[in-house]
Subunit: 479 residues, 2 copies
């Protein structure tokens, strides 16, 4: 028997046992967090851990709205849904702030087949803002194992008449530890964004990439905003499913030309209006200053955006709603923002920053969830040096949820909210298990059934507990 | 700590360790299996366990042929491929036997959307031999949790103007033990086959079922041959993906009518010709009698048929080829048959039985693989009472591959080959781990990347070892 495996299993099993919220002790230093606040926080944590509200919210948005890319009918529906949901959940104030999308996009249909050396229909999905193919595009495939390999061939006409194919597999490189690394997602997304420009500069007719994900499903992974550059020919760009990428590679290994036929009917369209939606639990003593919880309201358009970012919508709306259900409002306000247009270029947060730049000081402490509904395993912070001791005590309140503390104190709020962080807002961030996320997000498979209710409850309980304390205490997290 | 979990883990771990083929001992009774045969069998087992040939064959058929439903262009390609592959692998004789398909089928396209209460595009796949919808079919959905619930409503017009929806989930019922149960596949396939007739008898416009599988992917699971009945209206029949079934159910739970629009362009077509393909390693002493290894050469048409039944093709072709690579031919012949048209109704084996009914006695011992490439865990047999002792000794030769023996001696050969069993051919059968199979087979996801090479090698080594001994010994397995 392998003792290492056994030891690892025992660690896993005790970690699981640790996940039970059985702690009744308040070990928090009362000179840092007053005992009554700590007690209420613990009661809140225990109560919310049993409440499925965050999951129900994800079910609601994925079922009643579904796909909701900015500028589409789903976007209009989710703006209405968000306002109604905030009101239903008892938020005191609900409003929208306009967001302008400079150009829209229609996905259309994507069909593709391999014509040579062996005929196969394959699964392809247009990447965001791809132009269409204007009928069938038929060309030989040239494989590049990585984006850098594409960059290494000369600009001009080295790929004239060809389809560039980047076969880079995120699945082969994702680090296994703790399921929490971003792995090679960043590397994969280089090709997803700027590949269209770099391939065009080399004369290619189109660029196709292996889907950026760690799954083995026959679905494409979409993504990217408008990434064309003035003066560079706009060529179609798409992703093939991981199994189809393997198929093409297996054909290429035989040394035979692989000829692909693709037909995308995507189209870039005109400007559109959208909105960020904000709900507030109004503070009882200092209502104009607020802790700030975020998620993005838009999603990609082939799934229903359950993990990306329904889980953020559900956890953040529910966390604030739970605080709103307490006997009295917290000292300062809690605002929950549903950012528009994250997926195609942070449109929502840019509009927010423009409108709210004079008021950043009122943003006391922020966080965003944009990495699915997985359980949190580590609390990180980005606060002033004097506040770190407070965060350390706050951590003790969520430690029974299986959350460790990383005291490097160099975190920003995530995703959209990182822009607010950069402008000076202190932040907390809970690192989550990401494995499910990189299997499903941006694909047709990002649907409600992928939500693990218990994990969502753990995540939501942690945010509710932390931000209740942050809103209730009279502390400046910038110091 | 839960002691039961620990105990279960320890069993799993030791089973894993047992999977290593480290045995050099010949513990086989030499009065039953001569020592030289046992030694050669062990050497064969050890050699083949390192040989990737079975996997390479699956790669070849999935890449060079791809989907190969009977009566399609892929069927023609795979008949040619099979003959060429048998020859390339050194089989002594290769031939085909004609199979007639009484009616063919064109899949066409399947599009579906929910119109009410919330608009969604959903993933639908036509079930085998479904008629088309003749344009858009728009109707309200009526849910039946099981096929029996459909049968329970009165015949006549109780479903007039409706689409029957059977939401039965195989995933919720599959037994976890050992990954080897057929679980609720049989229950799921009742609706897949005869649902179209029973729904039509009740006046329904169409019948839609939840995909029969244990996966959570946004792909449809197809299946079924021609199942219409004379005198009953032919209505369209299709499967929705598991996540879309959940979506429809979540809408129905709200008490609102769910209106579905579906458009299938499937068509039933005329008769076609196909063929079984047979390769023989000719025996050195008794060439007209043979052990008989089978798989089916056809596949469903949305994936490339890697697990169903590329794995059978690869393991059986390779097992016999490995025996053909030995110093001398075995005493009796080995025939490998690639049956045509299994998926839509056992066309290949029925044609085979008609042609070969006078020669069943020459079939010494048979087996078929039609449950994917998972590792075998249990050997079963269906042989004469005197032969059971031989099979027990044969088992010792494969036990180091982690294979147990179930001596109930009531097994038949599997799938197509069960028909030959019924006619009197003795059989061996290796029960395999099936979990991957029920996630992927019959779906677009049944592709080469789902093959686990090590598991395929274990499976193939077991069949090579067992059938080398069966072909080499002078024994009548009927006795």
């Amino acid at each position: 028997m392998n003792q290492k495996i056994l030891a690892a299993l025992l660690v896993l099993m005790s970690a699981h046992a640790f996940g039970q919220d059985s702690s009744n002790q308040v070990s928090v230093d009362p000179s840092i967090i007053p005992a009554d606040i700590a007690e209420k926080a613990i009661a809140l944590r225990k109560r919310t851990l049993k409440d499925n509200l965050s999951v129900d919210i994800v079910e609601s948005v994925t079922t009643e709205v579904g796909p909701r890319r900015i500028g589409t009918a789903g976007d209009e529906r989710v703006i209405a849904w968000s306002q109604a949901k905030f009101k239903e959940l008892g938020f005191d104030r609900v409003w929208t702030e306009e967001v302008t999308l400079d150009r829209g996009w229609t996905r259309g249909e994507a069909k593709a087949e391999i014509l040579e050396p062996y005929p196969h229909n394959i699964v392809m999905t247009a990447l965001g803002y791809s132009v269409g193919t204007d009928g069938d595009l038929v060309a030989e495939v040239v494989e590049f194992p990585t984006y850098d390999d594409l960059l290494a061939v000369p600009e001009g006409d080295s790929l004239k008449g060809k389809i560039a194919f980047i076969s880079y597999s995120m699945a082969d490189y994702v680090p296994p530890e703790n399921g929490s690394g971003w792995g090679s997602y960043g590397e994969g997304t280089r090709a997803r964004g700027k590949g269209r420009v770099e391939a065009a500069k080399r004369g290619a007719e189109a660029i196709v990439i292996r889907s950026v994900g760690i799954d083995n499903n026959r679905n494409g992974h979409t993504g990217s905003g408008y990434n064309y550059e003035d003066g560079v020919r706009m060529i179609p760009t798409a992703a093939v499913s991981a199994p189809d990428a393997v198929l093409i590679q297996n054909m290429l290994r035989r040394g035979k030309p692989v000829v692909l036929k693709m037909n995308l009917t995507s189209e870039i369209t005109g400007p559109a209006k959208s909105a960020n939606i904000i709900g507030e639990i109004t503070g009882r003593e200092d209502p104009d200053r607020f802790v700030f919880l975020g998620a993005h309201v838009d999603s990609w358009d082939e799934g229903t955006g359950a993990l990306d970012d329904g889980a953020g919508i559900g956890s953040m709306m529910a966390a604030a709603a739970f605080i709103g259900q307490m006997e009295q409002r917290p000292r300062r306000s809690i605002r929950v923002i549903m950012f528009s247009g994250e997926e195609v270029g942070f449109y929502g947060v840019y509009a927010y920053m423009e409108k709210n730049q004079g008021n950043i000081d009122a943003h006391l402490l922020g966080a965003e969830v944009d990495t699915g509904g997985g359980r949190a395993h580590t609390l990180t912070s980005g606060v002033g040096p004097n506040s770190l001791a407070v965060v350390r005590e706050m951590h003790k309140l969520v430690a029974p949820l299986g959350i460790e503390f990383n005291d490097a104190n160099d975190a920003q709020a995530q995703s959209d909210m990182s822009e607010v962080s950069k402008a000076g807002m202190p932040a907390l961030h809970l690192r989550q298990n990401l494995n499910g996320y990189f299997k499903y997000h941006h694909t047709p498979n990002d649907t409600f059934d992928k939500i693990i209710p218990e994990d969502m409850r753990y995540l939501t309980a942690a945010y509710a507990t932390l931000f209740y304390v942050a809103a209730e205490m009279d502390i400046d997290f910038r110091k």
